[in-house]
Symmetry: C2
Subunit: 279 residues, 2 copies
């Protein structure tokens, strides 16, 4: 296959490394010439340039994978249209799908929305690594060229799962976007503690429980904001339910209803094991 | 030293193992004769019995460490009073101090409240292990015999930190008890998702972010309930502030105030590094 990658960061770079090791031809685009040079050095691309018109290997590309930040995906698809035509497939890797798939498909007939659920705390081409995707799930949305995109991600070791943009967005609101807001609010709440002595003590005593609960809230602020902005409706619906649950917990504390609280914690204890990643 | 341990679970058993390896004499009490036998086999105690009156090595004990669940600590101190007298010191390991230290000191003059901040996901004597406490912090509250209790925990590798019961309880409400409630509410909220298909998808797609954020909420329900019950006031105060923070986040989402949300996430990103355990 000949694969193009727009945006050579952690995801784009890691994908390039894996594809080239499998014998595929990979070209890449990054606005930053230094990133292009690093991608070449790391073996993530065969050719890289800051603009599409500088690439010599564009013709006969099978798939273009848009790995830009969420806010640039649809515009990037638009910028690709003078350069590619079906049967070339365009796909993306953004963590929201409802705000991207319909407009992207309106612009380009062979667009398939994708979300490879893999990553590290790292960012940028220097964090790119082989086998980042192996054993993880890639969500794909129906579109012309689906089988080809499915083949791409399965080649690098992912299991693919097909669902609608709306279902994807509501599910990731629950398991990814809502946790970021809860976790960040925990960190910032401690900062609201009025007694500086207690605040210092909390900083000192925090242990593995706080570290784990606060981890995703301490992540990349730009990414967190974009996820919220582009998945606003699903996230608000999850947040409403969460606030109701928390209000119930508060009522039990206020009214000394300890049996109810215990049943709630029992439910959480057992329900957590229903999540694949928590077994 | 001669040390007595009441309650041979994870904490009591692990403490016994460390103290005996250091050459101290350790007796233990557990209601369950099988636990006494296991503690002897594991080398956590030199002598163990289900009742104080069955012990031959009670006289001249330097410190008695009460390692029972929170709800039994004060009553256990009361039951010890016919058997021990100053300068013997009684201390405890409970994760709340305000509900324990004043009543326990009213019952026994040489009582020192303690909270060794160490543990594992395990429970009971079979989870006991050497070096559980090494490198961790033990909070102690002022009381007659403080230096001796300080010496005990420093012997097994802990750093001791002295503060008031009230300050301790507010700090652990922030970094330990509040995270349990937030995390359990996350798990139970997903269960409230009305569409079973989306719920199944969330279970399938949950990854490391969800796993970490939900970890403490999926812990021991009895312990979670007791922490809330015995630290109710401090926990309610932390929960109120948290609910206000979350309401601000919700308002930003409703009103599309993305710059405010981004600043909030930036603050969380930087503030998290102020916590010793998160560096």
């Amino acid at each position: 296959m000949k694969v193009g990658i727009i945006g050579l960061g952690l995801i784009g770079g890691s994908l390039g490394i894996d594809l080239r090791r499998l014998g595929h031809y990979v070209w890449g685009v990054s606005r930053n010439p230094a990133t292009c040079a690093t991608a070449l050095t790391l073996g993530a691309v065969d050719e890289a340039a800051p603009h599409l018109d500088h690439l010599t290997s564009l013709p006969n590309t099978d798939i273009v994978v848009v790995c830009t930040p969420i806010a640039q995906v649809v515009e990037t698809v638009r910028q690709l249209t003078p350069w590619v035509a079906p049967p070339t497939v365009i796909t993306d890797v953004a963590s929201v799908k409802g705000a991207i798939v319909p407009p992207a498909q309106a612009i380009y007939d062979h667009f398939v929305g994708g979300h490879p659920m893999a990553g590290t705390a790292g960012q940028g081409i220097t964090s790119a690594q082989p086998d980042l995707f192996r054993g993880r799930v890639c969500v794909l949305c129906e579109g012309k060229g689906l089988a080809q995109v499915q083949y791409l991600w399965e080649q690098v070791g992912m299991t693919t799962l097909i669902c609608s943009p709306t279902d994807h967005d509501q599910a990731v609101a629950w398991i990814s976007h809502l946790p970021v807001l809860l976790s960040a609010s925990l960190i910032n709440s401690v900062h609201q503690e009025p007694d500086p002595h207690i605040q210092a003590l909390a900083h000192r005593l925090a242990s593995t429980g706080f570290r784990d609960t606060s981890r995703v809230g301490g992540g990349n602020p730009e990414l967190g904001q974009l996820m919220a902005e582009y998945n606003r409706t699903a996230l608000l619906s999850a947040l409403s339910i969460y606030q109701q649950e928390l209000a119930r917990v508060r009522d039990w504390l206020v009214q000394h209803q300890w049996a109810e609280l215990r049943a709630f914690l029992h439910h959480a204890h057992h329900d957590r094991q229903q999540f694949d990643s928590c077994r």
